[in-house]
């Protein structure tokens, strides 16, 4: 299969020599494995914070108390409407300037790139996540609660038995989508020097000048990760689907 690429390159008259072996040579494959590990680590940690922020602010946007709602709206609208790249530069280059000196020194010695990237990704995606969660909460009709209470359940029982199980099913598909966005966006951390997967492929490209091989490796790994997670979550959604509810969940996404 790789030989066919060689043939294609020759056919188009492109002066490029393929050497797929470089991916298995000594330091290169360790860069990729470490990069993949870093991508997974940064995505997982940012995901936890993003979901927490999303739940807190998504819920705050539905409370009846106006100042809290305004605060949550301000957070969501400001952070999700500015490019993530700008936030990463801000959290890495800008924000440490205003921190007290001891904290800054501590950060510099404990992987400031990593924590800046985590802050940037989780605050940005937390704002996006809260929109998804709010849409999910609001897409459950009030009549569900009323029907539960009038059939003799208490409010907490209604929430536990009816509202939350439905809400989870409605929220899981868009949250999965958003989580995959987070995973892909973690590649931006390379711009502030975090040695994740995209950084590793660029590093191999710089050291060997074999861009095609290096980028192919990165692309395939991202594809396997994203399609794999999407496939598993799709199976989970189908297993727990309630007929008739999924159509409404898709409408609520708009």
């Amino acid at each position: 299969m790789f030989d066919s690429f060689m043939w294609l390159a020759g056919f188009l008259g492109i002066p490029y020599q393929f050497r797929w072996g470089i991916l298995w040579e000594a330091p290169h494959y360790t860069w990729i494995i470490n990069g993949l590990w870093m991508t997974l680590r940064i995505s997982a940690i940012s995901w936890i914070f993003a979901v927490l922020l999303g739940i807190i602010f998504g819920a705050l946007r539905t409370v009846p108390f106006r100042p809290l709602r305004a605060l949550a709206t301000a957070y969501v609208e400001f952070f999700r409407n500015v490019p993530l790249l700008v936030w990463l530069f801000f959290w890495y280059f800008g924000a440490p300037e205003v921190l007290p000196e001891p904290i800054r020194q501590w950060l510099i010695h404990h992987g400031m790139e990593f924590w800046s990237a985590v802050a940037g990704i989780s605050i940005y995606h937390g704002a996006r996540m809260s929109e998804v969660i709010r849409a999910g909460i609001q897409s459950i009709p009030k009549t569900q609660l009323e029907a539960g209470i009038s059939s003799g359940l208490s409010v907490s029982q209604t929430y536990r038995i009816i509202i939350i199980p439905i809400a989870l099913r409605l929220i899981v598909p868009p949250v999965t989508n958003e989580s995959l966005n987070l995973l892909k966006n973690s590649s931006l951390a390379m711009t502030i020097g975090v040695a994740e997967l995209t950084f590793a492929t660029r590093q191999i490209e710089t050291y060997t000048a074999k861009a095609f091989e290096a980028f192919t490796a990165g692309t395939v790994i991202y594809l396997v990760l994203c399609l794999g997670i999407a496939f598993v979550m799709n199976r989970v959604e189908r297993k727990f689907a309630i007929p008739g509810l999924i159509a409404r969940a898709e409408r609520a996404e708009h």
Binding site: V82, K184, G218, Y222, L223
Partner: protein, 232 residues
Amino acid sequence: MSFDFGVIISNLKFLLLQGLIGIGMFTGGTLRLAIPAILLGFCVGIILGLARLGQRPWIHYPAAIYIELIRGIPLVMVIFWFWFLAPVFLKRPVPEYWIALTAFVCFEGAYIGEIVRAGIQSVPRGQIDAATATGLGYIQTMIQVILPQAIRNMIPSLVTQFIVLFKDTSLASIIGMMDLTKAAQTVAARELRPFEMYIFIAVIYWIFTYSMSRFSLWLEIRMSPERVASPG
């Protein structure tokens, strides 16, 4: 740490003219990249969306594979692919602006294609049957019944995608194109004022994206008669 927001004023001309609009010695500019990228991405998206709904397998499968492939990898990766492949295939150096534009059109086209497909599929089949029953032909059905509803359903997602694309143009700075982000980086490095600089461009980006999202909301309310009747 004291703030000096004066650096914004003294570099305002460079940031806005060169960075935002793209007038100056560098080919670039956030708006100069975003506007053609949105228009061309929309065209590519319509073609891909219709192709994915096509009946013939040799039209349907390539479109589906392309869309799923692009949606499974980060935009940075796509930009790097074009950055590497364009000079190899064209056998001459290619300006960053054109690399970024091509990458954005190819990348966003896949996302817009999915929106177009969902929009057309969101129109109930009964509408086609009803239109046929009243004596309309296929083309009349499409133009007068299906497409107006499909486009109305698509608009919120389309504007959201345009906002995403506008924000994504900041990634062109990674391959060195002079956009708002790159301009701010340059000034921040020269003046040693990163905090003020990045807050400033965050506000500029926000003004554009927020007004686009307000516009989308307005359009959505305006174009759906049923919502006017029952607010909330």
